[in-house]
């Protein structure tokens, strides 16, 4: 290692030798960097899970364009949308199909008394509404009264229950003095807003939620005619529909808007963002403490090197060398622990936490920047190394 660094740096790797010399300090520093890494990884994981969870239902829609209420930021908030907008949309050239989608939350009480929150989506069972093959295959069943399909990814529900359903044994859910029969399953996955998704017909939906009406869906799913470019069609829809109560968006645009809203306007997103900042601050402070102590302990030696004729850049190089070594050596265990924790969270909480190459690269660069920043602050102490005080 020393020989390799000597070759890389073109000088003795004093930073590395210093770190290696004081093992306790090195271990403390690495533990600090690892902890900061883990903290940031988890926050980024939750943030990524939030973003991923937001996009999953959108991505499951068999639609090119969504018509929402103008004040809607997410799938469910905003005012109800006049159903007439669907008919108006169907009159626009280039629109192949338009179908209403109703969404509401429902609490599902488990046999053990715990509650699972489901996003219930009501759709017209005569129309293709989803890109999820299992839903499309079971769509005729939705036409049955009180029939439902449920997300196998629903959090904290025994998988045996879904196996039973898929084996042809319906499962009955009682809710709000109503019952639904779950006849099949599919997989979309829950996010932070709900534990899972349930799909029912629009008629079943309206029975479940008496305060909702057929004339006020949440969203109108629009499919473009084959060969129809999406952007011009969006422009035509926007021109035709009153902007006062409707917003026309591509699916991607709706996902981005929802993600942006939930990460910047909702507490959960803001908390995760703060978590990343706090993690970085923890890392900066720990590494600064280590590097500053190291500088303080070697003040006379640094002053001697100054007397010999070493320039300030040399000392900065030593501190940054230490910072980068701490970053690299702290990054590896931090990443390994994060991968293990992601898997644990995914298994226990069902949150879609995924370790990606881009996230690891981001963390590596972020850790190097974090440690280098600490080093830059620590180098201010070097100015106190006065060679004239050595005599």
């Amino acid at each position: 290692m020393t020989a390799l660094l000597t070759r890389l740096l073109g000088r003795l790797p004093i930073g590395w030798l210093q770190l290696r010399h004081n093992r306790n300090r090195l271990i403390a520093a690495l533990a600090g960097v690892t902890f900061a890494n883990l903290l940031i990884y988890m926050q980024l994981g939750f943030l990524g899970g939030l973003l991923n969870g937001i996009s999953l239902p959108y991505a499951s829609f068999d639609a090119d364009i969504l018509i929402q209420a103008s004040d809607a930021n997410t799938l469910q908030d905003g005012s109800p949308l006049p159903r007439n907008r669907m008919l108006e949309a169907l009159a626009i050239p280039g629109v192949a199909e338009a179908t209403p989608l109703y969404i509401f939350k429902m609490d599902w009480k488990q046999p053990d008394g715990t509650i699972r929150t489901l996003d219930v989506m009501g759709v017209d069972p005569r129309m293709a509404n989803f890109r999820v093959a299992e839903i499309e295959a079971a769509r005729p069943l939705l036409a049955l009264s009180n029939a439902a399909l449920i997300d196998r990814g629903t959090r904290n529900v025994p998988p045996e229950l879904f196996d039973e359903i898929d084996a042809g044994r319906p499962y009955r859910i009682e809710t709000a003095n109503r019952s639904v029969n779950i006849l099949g399953s599919f997989r979309i996955g829950g996010g932070f807003g709900a534990d899972g998704v349930m799909v029912v017909s629009d008629q079943t939906f309206l029975k479940l939620f008496r305060n909702r009406t057929a004339g006020a869906p949440n969203i109108i799913l629009v499919r473009a005619a084959p060969g129809q470019a999406i952007d011009p069609l969006i422009a035509r829809l926007r021109a035709a529909l009153p902007a006062a109560d409707t917003a026309v968006r591509s699916v991607d645009e709706a996902i981005r808007r929802d993600q942006n809203f939930q990460t910047t306007q909702r507490p959960v997103g803001i908390v995760f963002g703060f978590g990343v900042v706090i993690g970085a601050l923890v890392g900066i402070i720990i590494v600064y403490q280590v590097l500053a102590s190291d500088v303080a302990d070697h003040m006379r030696e640094y002053a001697t090197f100054k007397a010999i004729g070493y320039r300030q850049s040399f000392f900065l190089g030593v501190i940054f060398e230490e910072a980068v070594i701490l970053a690299l050596f702290g990054f590896l265990p931090g990443t390994a622990l994060a991968i293990a924790l992601y898997a644990a969270v995914k298994a226990t909480a069902g949150l879609p936490l995924e370790m990606t190459g881009s996230r690891m690269l981001f963390m590596l660069l972020g850790t190097i920047i974090m440690c280098t920043l600490s080093g830059a602050i620590a180098t201010r102490r070097l100015a106190k190394a006065d060679p004239a005080a050595l005599f």
Partner: protein, 229 residues
């Protein structure tokens, strides 16, 4: 050829306003190359300040100092660094880097000029000259006080400096080691015309010098040549 050190009308003070305290008064001196000069004086007489000024460790305030032909009055930091690279410093404290071996500490005296082939061999040679051939890869923590001081001496001399500034370099050395150091200094003076300015109170060394300077209250009060037997 320029003298190693030439000083004219050197004054220096610390502090400002009412707190200003002058520590050097009108120093005038010339030391030719190859001389071994000892500087003596009571504590507070200005020896240390003079060494720091001549060693380019402080900026000059008033007077002229020529160091190997380079005028130091008004010299910027870069010029002073360049000058320092031609000097060798031996401090009272060894100031060895605790995480570097004896060899690595000595190499720091060479690497300031950039890594060069043969640096390890030169560092090893310097340590062997000072009787540390068996301690090349020892960390300072595993060396005695005298051995540490000899490593510091090797670090100062390994780069073949033109001038050596030494502050009580033999204080931590036994007489045999001190003699080894003095032999090297005299050898460098003879072979490379290296100049040495040493602050010491070791009476055994006085007779070995070419010249003894005495300072009192910031003034150079005596400049005596040491008679050769």
């Amino acid at each position: 050829m320029h003298p190693a050190i030439s000083i004219a009308g050197l004054n220096h003070a610390f502090g400002e306003g009412e707190a200003r305290r002058q520590v050097l008064f009108d120093i005038n001196l010339a030391i030719p190359r190859g001389q071994f000069v000892i500087l003596v004086g009571a504590s507070g007489s200005g020896k240390t300040t003079l060494l720091t000024l001549l060693g380019c460790l402080r900026a000059l305030q008033q007077g002229r100092v020529g160091l190997l032909g380079q005028e130091l009055l008004g010299a910027d930091e870069e010029t002073r660094i360049a000058c320092r690279r031609r000097l060798g410093f031996i401090f009272q404290a060894h100031n060895l880097h605790d995480s570097l071996t004896a060899m690595q500490n000595v190499r720091m005296g060479l690497d300031v000029h950039g890594i060069r082939p043969g640096a390890d061999a030169a560092a090893e040679h310097a340590l062997r000259l000072l009787g540390l051939g068996e301690r090349l890869h020892y960390l300072p923590a595993n060396l005695s006080g005298g051995q540490k001081q000899r490593v510091a001496v090797a670090r100062a001399l390994v780069g073949n400096p033109d001038i050596i500034f030494a502050d009580e370099p033999t204080a931590a050395l036994d007489w045999e080691s001190a003699q080894q150091l003095l032999d090297i200094i005299r050898l460098l003076a003879t072979e490379r015309r290296t100049t040495t300015l040493m602050v010491t109170h070791d009476s055994r060394i006085m007779a070995l010098a070419d010249r003894i300077l005495t300072m009192e209250d910031g003034r150079l009060v005596r400049d005596e040549a040491v008679p050769r037997a």
